[in-house]
Point group: C2
Chain length 247, copies 2
DNA sequence: TGCGCGCATTGACACAGATCAAATGGGTTA
DNA sequence: TAACCCATTTGATCTGTGTCAATGCGCGCA
């Protein structure tokens, strides 16, 4: 088993997530305080970053890469409950353990803060805590969209919603108006999609085949999807307007 | 349509949720500040408290009663995405609209705070913001437990998990060790449970019948449940230990 | 070039939960 | 007390998705 690697810290001025992460509202002085308790760490694709119930002595921002949050029951049933992308926040101030497993799906770089000093800074820097509160509220909204999907959508609607969510985020992360035709590289395996959507891998596969047969999507290999008409895909999500779900 | 009623404020010293709500960590002086922007409001069972996308100019603590948060799609499919019980927090600082509908399921009393001044107090009173952050993180954890339930649990496991969650919240809100036998009054209808769990009302009813036949629960009327052996119920939740889900 | 490995697709069948429909029961009103 | 209402339960049947098993396909490696 590979261990996490310590790597040299990046200066905040060079940081690609400086203006989106938990530190985005901090001034120079406040950044310096954070800098005093920060250290970089990297994980390779497939590595476990944290396990449910085990101590995690830091909280962190994702600088680079993708990680999943998953709950697993003993009999193997697995539900993905979150996806961490660059600028997202990992860990829980005020508690030393997590309720879920965290796994790197690509190589991941973290900007870690020792937990205890970070908690103290939250009280000293109201804007830092305010930013973390807003990020947490956003995550809560996303989780609730996801609950609607898991509880009430059909397999076809789930797949369409997922594809649309990936389009929104990877093709056009800034929310500008979307063109009518999109090419899309799937960042996760069929199995991960199943765990994301509360489906089996076979059902995921069958729905892909069905959407292809109906002309909603075109497949190029297994990992690349073309969407000839985005509004047709939106019509398949089961949502009132635009597909709701934001990953 | 009935309108929300303004009712006289209760003094914080008399407040039944004084030590659990968002204000629980405030001292006398800070309470006085909150008192300046607070007003009580009550809703009758069945009334709409807020609608998705419409402005809500206050945030609030639930003093008494039960309210649901729901997402509804046009064809009528409904997913409950949250349940508000006394001491829970309603509304989103920093944003004037909600993403979901809020409905009173019993008569509800709210301790409301005008939103803008409340947001200012969050920055002035770090402990208030810290408390709200902790409550939001707890909600996020609960939402994630719920996602596991919606995505991967069977109908029987869902019902057992819900019953256990209600036991934890209403019979013993302080987390003291639970006795072996519990009496439990269900705060919501079968339909609401179905919307909570991603099931139809008929399936909910059948699972109640099945759990009764298997001796896991006893019914007294339709709204009261006796749980002769809590650990037996825990064994039905599908969770590793104690049923995870916290409402 | 061919073998093996992992992921994905396809097929046949089973079953949990949905759907449609009818019966029950408790509470409220006249 | 009867009539009605509404939530709930129960029954019969249907169907979407899971399960189990076989096959296909791309890719690295010998």
């Amino acid at each position: 088993m590979l261990a996490a690697k310590h790597i040299p810290n990046l200066a905040c001025g060079e940081c690609p997530i400086r203006h989106r992460a938990v530190c985005s509202t901090c001034d120079e002085d406040e950044l310096a305080q954070l800098d005093g308790v920060k250290f970089y760490r990297s994980y390779q694709a497939g590595q476990t970053i944290a396990l449910r119930g085990y101590a995690l002595d830091y909280v962190a921002s994702i600088v680079e890469g993708t990680a999943t949050l998953e709950r697993v029951i003993e009999d193997g049933r697995t539900q993905m409950i979150g996806l961490l992308l660059p600028s997202d926040f990992l860990g829980r101030p005020g508690r030393g353990t997590l309720q879920y497993d965290v796994t790197a799906v690509t190589d991941v770089t973290l900007c870690c803060f020792q937990r205890k000093p970070f908690e103290a800074l939250l009280l000293d820097i109201p804007h830092l805590q305010e930013r973390l509160l807003q990020m947490t509220l956003d995550e809560l909204d996303a989780a609730r969209d996801w609950m609607l999907l898991l509880g009430r959508k059909t397999a076809r609607e789930k797949i369409a919603s997922l594809l649309l969510a990936i389009v929104k985020r990877t093709v056009n992360p800034d929310g500008k108006s979307l063109g009518t035709r999109s090419r899309l590289e799937l960042p996760i395996s069929r199995e991960a999609m199943g765990n994301f959507l509360g489906l089996t891998i076979e059902t995921v596969s069958r729905q892909f085949t069905a959407l292809k047969k109906d002309g909603v999507i075109e497949l190029e290999g297994k990992r690349v999807v073309h969407i000839p008409d985005l509004s047709a895909l939106m019509g398949e999500t089961g949502d009132d307007e635009d597909g709701g779900l934001i990953v």
